[in-house]
């Protein structure tokens, strides 16, 4: 698995979206989220976006009040993942129209669907926005 998990966290450290690509119990997930979120939120603007945690790396970026964190294996290309985070944000932006934290909260499953189209088995599958949003918009129309 290259990507192990995707987290969206707000400035207060509350998780807004959590997608895991490996099996973890609920307690493990909460512990993991607590540790990593604390580390990332404590960093400043001038520090690099990569944090090493245990045997994997976390790549993160802040967009307004939301932090996007992606946990990856140590061999993964960090800049590519950073680019991917940007891709996710742009896609959600296009779908929700100027996405904000509330959009994610009220339409969590849509956010999940978008992410599912982009990542599968922990691998980045699709980065073209039209290809991602096409199926989702069709789904919305017919159902």
């Amino acid at each position: 698995m290259a990507i192990r998990f995707v987290l969206l966290v707000n400035k207060q450290g509350q998780t807004r979206l959590a997608q895991y690509y490996e099996q973890l119990t609920i307690d493990e997930r909460r512990a993991l989220e607590g540790e990593i979120v604390r580390k990332c939120l404590a960093r400043t603007e001038n520090q690099c976006s990569f944090v090493e945690h245990r045997n994997y790396k976390v790549v993160y970026r802040r967009y307004a009040s939301l932090f996007f964190l992606i946990g990856v294996d140590s061999e993964e290309n960090e800049l590519a993942i950073l680019e991917f985070i940007h891709c996710v944000v742009e896609t959600m932006d296009r779908y929700f129209g100027n996405v904000c934290e509330l959009d994610i909260m009220y339409h969590l499953e849509k956010a999940h669907f978008i992410l599912e189209e982009m990542v599968m088995n922990g691998c980045i599958v699709e980065t073209n926005k039209s290809n991602i949003l096409g199926p989702i918009q069709l789904m919305d129309k017919s159902f």
Partner: protein
């Protein structure tokens, strides 16, 4: 009628948001959970689906366990309406684990959905399979997935290709059957499917690269033709895995790799190429030169000059890459020296550490003095944690392989002295060890050590920092051991017995007392003239005054040594016969202690008749 009163997910979220305190939130969650438990048993599909929806939300974001609802989730998954089904599948992907027992029930359900004409239903089933696959499920559904590889719909083909990875990892025997089908996808007319195929190959190759070597020609073609950065990165990674297996492969891909590095503007791709080069192409000078050139550009770009436009990401990654290329291209460090050194006081601790690691790996005996000077300078202004990292790297580099790199030991003793005075100093134990160690091994520098010891003992302003205490113990030991080299012995005894010493930890006090003993023995036995005898008397009086109370100290070691000291004193005062005794004791102390080799114990001959 019931479901008019049911809270929808929207209401749930609104309610959660309106709770100010965390306790209010958990009460609200508990209440919502109760409602869900009731609603979920309803027969009406709307109510059931909405209940599962809310439960999935709570499970994802508030850690509420939903394993008890597994059966209801399966029920929702089998509902005819797509929007309900989707909720069920989402909940399943989130919460089913290998041990969920209802997994047996869903095999047929998945089979039906996989072959559904609606591509979204099929895609959804594939997605779910990729998350929750168990060996049983996979075995039953492999054939269905393989059929879908040939579907006319791109959406299905892409997802089916990706699910194959899960199929292979959970059910390895399927590789024999399905491998050919997977490889066919490399030639698929649609680039998305090709990219999916490469992803799967890469993941599989990470575990065992050998079987994928024969795909190299295909992959080579893709490397040369493709312009999609994501695909290229995956290909470059894949080649990094394959290169160690086949040396000729490295030569072949050197050219396309260079082409990509020259052409692309994506730094991520450049860095990936550099990483691959460090794996297999280090002996190809042309390639390494190009890589080094690109890396220098990156490092230069990462520095905005006045620190304003700095890109911390590029700095960090650039430094790591330089470290990787170091074995073949050390010139890179000299060329970018100023950049690397200025990174030592960067705002970002990761960048600082990367820079330190790089500098330490470049140390040799010719540049040791300069390097240490630079590190010291930065240590003075660094904050605590990094300061100690710097100091400890100085200590470990210099003492590496029994001080292999140090040519001038009196210079090094000076360095140790400066080190101790750095604010935030915390390396007491290591410095103590090194001071004593050097004293034992390097005879010529013992005078410098004695002088250093004297300075530490007399200047008690440094005693505030508790980490210094071990160093003081070393200083006292040195003063006592190399007593012939010390200057004014009286001064030292005064320093060793000053009132402040009583505040030091007992182990340190014990060493101090022993040192006083040694000095007294030395002095008393060498006292030839009447002037000297007066000084001995003064020393004895001093000892009596300051160390008297230590005879009844709580710590046994301190007590014992103080008693020894006073025993000696009463001995000295009793003139008769003391001269010979003193000379004897002095000789005992005069023997040089040296380092003991690890193998000495083995060399000791076992006496006859002794059974070990």
């Amino acid at each position: 009628m019931d479901y008019l009163f049911q809270r929808s997910l929207d209401d749930l979220v609104k309610g959660l948001r309106s709770q100010a305190a965390a306790s209010g939130e958990s009460r609200y969650v508990a209440k919502a959970l109760e409602e869900i438990r009731k609603e979920i048993k309803a027969t009406d599909p709307h109510i059931k689906a909405a209940a599962v929806h809310k439960l999935a939300y709570l499970n994802a974001l508030h850690g509420v366990d939903m394993a008890w609802a597994a059966f209801q989730v399966v029920e929702v998954m089998s509902m005819p309406k797509f929007s309900h089904k989707k909720i069920g599948y989402l909940a399943a992907s989130q919460s089913f684990t290998d041990s969920t027992d209802v997994l047996l029930l869903i095999t047929n359900l998945l089979k039906k959905d996989l072959s559904s004409k609606n591509e979204f239903e099929a895609g959804m089933a594939l997605e779910c399979l990729s998350r929750i696959a168990t060996p049983d499920l996979v075995r039953d559904l492999t054939q269905d997935v393989l059929t879908m590889l040939g579907s006319s719909k791109l959406y299905i083909r892409k997802k089916a290709t990706l699910v194959l990875f899960k199929v292979f990892s959970k059910h390895p025997e399927s590789i024999r059957v399905a491998f050919k089908r997977l490889v066919e996808k490399l030639d698929d007319r649609d680039s998305q499917v090709v990219a999916a195929c490469v992803s799967v190959l890469h993941e599989l190759a990470r575990q065992d690269p050998q079987p994928y070597l024969l795909l190299a020609p295909e992959l080579y073609r893709l490397l040369v033709e493709s312009t999609n950065n994501w695909l290229l990165i995956k290909l470059v990674k894949l080649f990094a895995l394959l290169m160690p297996l086949e040396p000729r492969l490295a030569k072949k891909i050197a050219e396309p790799l260079c082409e990509q590095m020259r052409r692309t503007s994506a730094k991520s791709l450049v860095l990936e190429c550099i990483r691959t080069i460090t794996v297999g192409l280090l002996d190809n000078t042309e390639v390494v030169e190009l890589a080094a050139g690109k890396l220098q550009e990156i490092l230069a770009a990462s520095h905005g000059g006045d620190g304003e436009d700095d890109d911390p990401n590029l700095k960090y990654l650039g430094l790591q890459a330089v470290l990787d290329l170091l074995p073949v291209y050390p010139q890179l460090v000299t060329q970018s020296k100023s950049v690397i050194i200025s990174c030592l006081n960067d705002v970002d601790p990761s960048v600082q550490m990367a820079s330190l690691r790089l500098i330490v790996s470049m140390v040799s005996d010719s540049n040791l003095a300069d390097t240490v000077q630079i590190l010291m300078r930065y240590a003075l202004s660094a904050e605590k944690i990094f300061c100690n990292e710097l100091l400890s790297s100085i200590l470990s580099t210099c003492s590496r392989s029994f001080y292999e790199l140090v040519t001038d030991f009196s210079w090094y003793v000076g360095v140790l002295g400066e080190l101790v005075r750095v604010p935030n100093f915390e390396q007491g134990k290591e410095v103590e060890r090194q001071l004593v160690d050097i004293g034992l091994r390097v005879e010529s520098v013992r005078k410098d050590l004695s002088r250093l010891a004297r300075d530490f003992l007399i200047d008690s302003s440094t005693w505030e920092n508790s980490h210094i205490h071990r160093v003081l113990a070393a200083a006292a030991w040195i003063a006592g051991e190399y007593v012939e080299l010390a200057g004014d012995l009286f001064e030292i005894v005064e320093a060793l017995l000053q009132p402040r010493m009583k505040k030091l930890p007992p182990s340190v006090q014990a060493v101090f007392l022993q040192a006083v003993l040694k000095i007294l023995v030395h002095f008393a036995s060498a006292a030839a003239t009447a002037v000297d005898a007066e000084v001995v008397d003064k020393m004895v009086t001093l000892i009596r005054e300051n160390a008297g109370s230590l005879q009844s100290h709580v710590d046994t070691e301190v007590q014992e040594r103080a008693s020894n000291l006073f025993g000696l004193i009463s001995f000295i005062e009793d003139e008769a016969g003391s001269g010979e005794m003193l000379a004897g004791i002095r000789e005992a102390f005069a023997k040089d202690l040296g380092p003991v080799s690890q193998f000495s114990q083995q060399r000791v001959v076992v006496p006859d008749g002794l059974e070990l």
